[in-house]
């Protein structure tokens, strides 16, 4: 196995493109090293992107935020502006693993690991986040939900690297939230995760909403029916029940060591309500 530490995206992309064997990108490494250690993967090349300047910064841009691929959860948690604009996204990122893991883990890594239970992904999908991909043929930008295609698989082509995650600018009266269920209070993988992002109109009615679900299908789901259930409402009890029903209806979960189908379906609805309530409060709305 070779370890490379390029300083430009082009160089990184070339290394990955040229490698005949199996090549992996290393950012935080909190998933990659576990797979390496447990023999799940035997890479021929590991490309560490942390020396590429543009992957290490969070920039406030005209269109919102640009979060470098190697920015750690701990760094996100220390970015006041980002926390103010996208508290749900930052909370989701900060839920990944322990304080130790937070010191290394990145949202981009969480996304590229392509686990349906990744905590930051539902929050990013609800936020309508995009990713900037650098590759041999230059750069392209796609929606976050277009990155994972199945457990462990992404739509990235050989030689492509995610440079950064783009979060849109926040309209006034907006709020987001992410909630997950785990059997303990820390250190677990989500059994169910729900992201909600919404914007209210002047009258306090939900004008815009995106609802996403994690760990209930092969990939993270965006659930338009759940959004429809609350758009145009004040999130009264009826709307909340409709939201829960739509969220539960969208689940296509499996029974596994972390939870049962029935459990995931039921709890998806419960968490959708709770997340929506937090998002509403953050948007300045009242139930």
């Amino acid at each position: 196995m070779r370890y490379e530490r390029p300083t430009t995206l082009q160089a990184a992309s070339q290394l990955l493109a040229k490698e005949k064997g199996s090549a992996y990108v290393l950012a935080g490494g909190t998933d990659l090293l576990v797979r390496l250690r447990t023999g799940l993967i035997e890479p021929d090349l590991i490309v560490d992107i942390k020396r590429i300047a543009s992957t290490r910064t969070v920039a406030k841009t005209a269109t919102g935020f640009k979060i470098g691929a190697a920015v750690t959860g701990a760094e996100l948690g220390e970015n006041a502006a980002l926390k103010k604009a996208w508290p749900g996204v930052v909370e989701a990122a900060n839920l990944i693993g322990s304080k130790q893991v937070q010191g290394r883990a990145t949202m981009t890594g969480n996304l590229c690991n392509a686990s349906p239970a990744a905590d930051s992904v539902p929050a990013l999908v609800a936020a309508g986040a995009k990713v900037v991909i650098a590759g041999p043929k230059g750069k392209r930008t796609i929606l976050v939900e277009q990155v994972p295609v199945s457990p462990g698989k992404t739509s990235l082509k050989k030689g492509e690297i995610i440079e950064a995650i783009l979060l849109p600018k926040r309209p006034p009266r907006s709020g987001d939230a992410y909630l997950r269920f785990i059997p303990r209070t820390e250190m677990d993988i989500a059994v169910v995760g729900v992201g909600v992002s919404l914007t209210l109109d002047a009258k306090g009615l939900v004008k815009d909403a995106r609802v996403s679900l994690g760990a209930v299908a092969p990939t993270v789901l965006l659930v338009p029916e759940a959004a429809k259930a609350i758009i145009g409402t004040k999130l009264d009890a009826k709307a909340m029940d409709a939201l829960a029903a739509a969220a539960s209806a969208a689940c296509r979960p499996i029974d596994d060591k972390r939870g049962t189908k029935d459990y995931r379906i039921k709890v998806a609805g419960v968490l959708a309500k709770r997340a929506a309530k937090i998002a509403l409060d953050r948007a300045g709305g009242k139930v």
Binding site: L26, R37, T38, R104, T185, M187
Partner: protein
């Protein structure tokens, strides 16, 4: 297996080593540098026994490649005491009987110090969540939390 030359600073001391590309920082510390204070309890980042700091950030050394830390500043348990003077956390852990077998203790101390460096006045809940990445099977955590709270109080008085 290609090997990598690394120049780093460990507990303030300039340190060079050569390691395999796929070798973890934990293996380098324990097997190449003889710093066995960091322990391997799981090798998956779930137990915190291998906790160290890299450029001031708390992390599991089992989740870091030895090759990654070139130019970085590493902090391990071996560097926690100042000469013959124990760090207040080390003293309080002994006084409060916050250890039984002691295998998790170095990791807890590194994590607790990192907490107090960032938050000198943590609540019990903050302490418990800050230490959630460190597993202890002997104590039920009670005396560990008390030792950390007591140290924080003492450091504030000082």
């Amino acid at each position: 297996m290609s090997s990598v030359h690394v120049s780093t600073t460990i507990n303030g001391d300039p340190t060079d080593y050569v390691c395999d590309a796929d070798e973890t920082l934990l293996d380098v510390l324990r097997n190449r540098l003889g710093l066995t204070g960091a322990k391997e309890g799981c090798s998956t980042g779930d137990c915190g026994a291998c906790s160290v700091t890299i450029d001031g950030r708390l992390t599991c050394s089992c989740l870091v490649l030895g090759a990654e830390v070139d130019g970085a500043k590493i902090g391990t348990i071996e560097g926690m005491a100042n000469g013959e003077k124990l760090h207040p956390l080390q003293k309080k852990f002994i006084e409060h009987a916050a250890l039984q077998c002691g295998i998790c203790t170095p990791g807890f101390l590194i994590a607790a110090k990192s907490l107090l460096d960032h938050n000198p006045k943590p609540t019990e809940t903050e302490v418990r969540f800050a230490l959630a990445g460190n597993l202890c099977r002997c104590t039920g955590y009670d005396k560990i939390v008390r030792a950390v709270m007591d140290t924080a109080a003492e450091l504030r008085r000082a």
